[in-house]
Assembly symmetry: C2
Homo-oligomer: 277 residues x 2
């Protein structure tokens, strides 16, 4: 699996929980992060380079654990990497949102690149033609998660800044389609960036208990498990616990320090190898 940095470690955490006997290689392209503010062409090129580097390790499944790369990089990756299933985080998130939402009115917060690329909007409408999607870029939430400011007044203030325009329109309730039109607020919120599950507590406080929150890390883990089961590839060499190897394109020290928080277990510097793409 690869991500632009440490955000994808929330997906790795979910994958380890779902597939405890597998061996994982996690590549963080930390020298070129963030992908979220870069152009479509640049992200697509970086994604193919990262995927090719991982294919050299003989992987049986490739997870694109980055929303921006999933949104714009999948076709290019699938062209270059043959005979290996390639799974992004956008499709599973969109599918879960469509299954979860009652009204079909779904909000997505993500990086600027993901929102502007329109991948969630397309994937959701493709699966559920009655859906209405409200997508909003929420760049500061990425920096907040990396700074470790995941709760408290600053995190909640910034969550309000992005989410109030979507969820706090005066006098409106959770959307119920009336004659096929959605008049209220969304009933489902997709966390369309792998950093955002770190802020789930603050986000929940702001949107209230009625809104369903879809975390694409968990839904992606289910898709990967189902894909491996289908191809009978699950397990392989059984391990007592999931083994993980980390590759980073820059600053092992920062990867270890911030990544440990995202993975929710300590990463040792000797587990991380510096690589060049």
């Amino acid at each position: 699996m690869f991500d632009s940095g440490v955000g994808g470690l929330t997906v790795l955490k979910a994958l380890i929980a779902a597939l405890p006997d597998e061996q994982f290689i996690y590549l963080g392209d930390t020298a070129r992060l963030p992908y979220g503010t870069k152009s479509r062409e640049t992200v697509a090129r970086y994604s193919v380079q990262a995927a090719e580097a991982l294919a050299d390790y003989g992987v049986k499944c490739l997870v694109v654990a980055c929303n921006t790369a999933s949104a714009v990089g999948l076709p290019g990756i699938r062209e270059h990497i043959e005979n290996v299933p390639v799974i992004g985080v956008v499709e599973p998130g969109a599918e879960a949102a469509c299954a979860t939402s009652v009204s079909g009115h779904i909000a997505v917060i993500a990086t600027e690149g993901t929102v502007r690329g329109g991948a969630y909007q397309e994937a959701i409408i493709g699966k559920r033609s009655d859906a209405r999607v409200t997508a909003c870029p929420a760049a500061l939430l990425v920096s907040l998660a990396e700074e470790g400011l995941c709760d408290g007044p600053i995190a909640e203030g910034i969550a309000h800044h992005y989410l109030d325009p979507i969820f706090s329109r005066q006098g409106e309730r959770v959307s119920k389609p009336i004659a096929g039109r959605h008049l209220g607020i969304p009933d489902t919120l997709v966390l369309g960036c792998t950093h955002f599950p770190m802020l789930a507590g603050a986000i929940r406080k702001v949107v209230g208990p009625a809104v369903r929150i879809v975390d694409s890390a968990e839904t992606t883990a289910h898709t990967v498990r189902a894909t491996l089961a289908k191809t009978k590839e699950q397990g392989g060499v059984p391990a007592r616990r999931a083994s993980v190897r980390f590759l980073a394109t820059d600053s092992v020290e920062r990867f270890v320090r911030i990544g440990s928080r995202f993975l929710d277990r300590p990463i040792a510097p000797e587990e991380v190898e510096l690589v060049d793409l």
Copy 2:
């Protein structure tokens, strides 16, 4: 001049004001931003590449309008670019801080890369051996400035988060050296990142009126003017107003949208050329 992105446009703005007859080429390495979280080696390599690209235009002076690149990239650039004065933003900022501070107790806020590199600390102590430097990374201020959230409760909340530990220690006043020791809080704050002048209003509210704020954009512009005057290079081909050419390594659209705020005048898409380093 070059910067990792749009932050250096605050320096360009100061340069245009100080040298209205010059021709400027501004390179934003937007495909590889931010430099502030990357390792010393990576930033040094990127800096040399950016400097070499600009040297090909036959510039008479090269300004490194990025604190992180100034902090770690100058020796490498000076090795590769001969016969052109190379001016960073750290030295002028440090000099202004030493001249401004009465007590010699100086605070610096900057990116993680700049603070960890220790360039401001070294430059200040090198100029004023009695100085004491309190340096603090303030990464979120970069994202805030790029999001345009330059004032209001979120900007002030985050400024409090970084600055209160330095400036709001209960019962302490602005530092006066007693027998050579600094016991109080700093009397001077260096904005050691080119993004931070955008937040000067919020920062001023938080530190109060007694603290002197040093903005290295202005001090760098003075140094450039003095350097050109010394080498009799000022002016050259007189222009009715400063002419500027913009180069960016990614996303012209984003450069135009966010850069216009930083430069404080509209940048037209046709003024920006996409280049590869």
